[in-house]
Amino acid sequence: MAKKKLTLAQKYHIYTRGLDWEPTYVSKKDIYPYAEYEGIKIKDWNKWEDPFRMTIEAYWKYQAEKDRRFYAILDGFIQNQGHLTLSDARYLNSIKLFIQGVTPLEYMAHRGFAFVARHLPGAGPRTAGFFQSMDELRHTQIEVHAGSNFNKYYDGFHSMTHMHDRVWYLSVPKSYFDDAVTAGPFEYITAISFSFEYALTNLLFVPFMSGAAYNGDTPTMTFGFSAQSDESRHMTLGLQVVKFLLEQHEDNVPIIQQWIDKWWWRGYRLTSLVGAMMDYMLPKRVMSWKESFELYVEDQIIEGLFRDLERYGIRPPLHMEQSIKEKEFLSHDVYWILFSFTFAAAFHSWIPTEAEMEWLAEKYPRTFNQYYRWRYEKAKEAKTPLPGDRFYYIGLPQLCQVCQIPMGFTDPDNPNNFVQRYTEYEGEIYHFCSDGCKWIFEREPEKFVQAWLPVHEIYKGNCFAEPPKGPEDVVPQVLKWYNIQTDNFDYFVSEDYKNWKEWHKDMATVLV
């Protein structure tokens, strides 16, 4: 009765895929009806190699420990009124964007991976997908809990889920994930596990969270790094999925390549918001967007990952070169958009200080002074009747049909202009911010003609709390429908700023 000696991998198989069986009373297709229509061919699910070998009991143990640490830090921060020791209340505007834009995506990812765990016919990847579904729920909740404390003292945090469904700039992240979860299970897992988790989340979680640490926000740094430790598992899953699909059948290669092409550009456009947060919204900066793009994308992804994938016949994403060309423009373009429309946003923006402009000029010696600095000088002159002594773009922007960002991405070959592309499909015109977004549309027009574009919805009258009483009542009714209260306008006319000054006026500053 001596038990045979098993390797860890064999043991793990018994713990996971060994539980599966071939049904005989119904057909397997009836249990997993969504597994074939994408055209992915799987010869042998057993060739799947588990990206990590974690049992549920180990999962409980390590995840409970991670969360115990997180909540201890959060509670300490709350008890010590840690928000008062942030570098500056301006910092929190990046966290507002995070809570409104990213946290609901974590939630969508949780449900999306539940879909993978339910509908991929391979027990191995289903199991890994399930762990990720759990993790994503965790991320949603630790982020909500970290945001909850800020919500008590600052604007912009009070209605993130509601805003995510309605507010114009949040349709950018929302449409990204809606695109993924409406796809089949294979595209979803390639889009999210591979293109997003492996190739892009580093930009979101590592340098940005390091920035949070630098600005005194330990709960955000902790949830960021703690979430990212789950992310390491997710990255491993992403890489394993793609390699597995590529090895299963040669017919899968062109399909996967197209998904990589599509989802690289979708994800890259989405993370442009992070560029603006890093370069403009952190009062103390760790590294620029460009530097982190070079480190995390050019070195790690292009030089590292894609050279590894060459042998499978996979090349770097179609529009990768364009994103490299844009790296000295991107964050400036996006912040300028956010700055221009702050009258209708649930965060504040501001004209960078002289010192900040110097930093931007130093980090972007070929673009900032040449193309962007003058806009802020002019913004001081071009005042509007709205609160804040500066310019707002009083109007509605043209949006890209695919990424839904206002069409404000500089053409690096013609830097005083934005890229504008359009196409005609079934008698209607569609506009795009880039060749990447146009390519994505033309590949799947039936999908993108459905886009809920916030600007057009406003013009259709679908975004008013009550019918406007006149032209001057239009924006207020939209803001009411968004539930934007005192969350908008320039930082220096905000309640956040007023309160911050008030709270700090009778505090001794101690140098240590």
Binding site: S340, I394, M407, E428
Partner: protein, 107 residues
């Protein structure tokens, strides 16, 4: 290429012309002036006269730029084709359609 789906995946475009009735969406873009962070979008009647359209977009938005008043005359483009609109003609008479883009720069 079509979307791969388990059923006939076809829906009317959400923002198709008929949804806007007698109005159309028109975009406007000031060439070489990135002070305005993107082209703008307007819902206007097809029968609006060109001068009223110009009055609306320049009056509400583009006039905010201090450089605006320095411009005596504008050069106009419909998409990328230069055109010389007659002030009294309507947008549809001038060939503008739903989701047309009008570009302009100082002459």
């Amino acid at each position: 290429m079509a979307v791969k789906a388990l059923y006939n995946y076809k829906f009317p475009a959400r923002d198709r012309a008929e949804v806007f009735g007698d109005d159309i969406i028109v975009y406007a873009y000031w060439i070489d002036n990135p002070f305005f962070c993107s082209a703008s979008a307007w819902r206007v009647p097809k029968n609006m006269k060109w001068k009223d359209f110009v009055g609306q977009i320049l009056g509400q938005l583009y006039g905010l730029d201090p450089d605006f008043k320095k411009v005596k005359e504008w050069k106009w483009y419909h998409f990328d084709n230069e055109f010389k609109p007659d002030d009294e003609k309507t947008l549809s008479e001038l060939g503008l359609r739903h989701k047309s883009i009008v570009k302009f720069k100082p002459a």
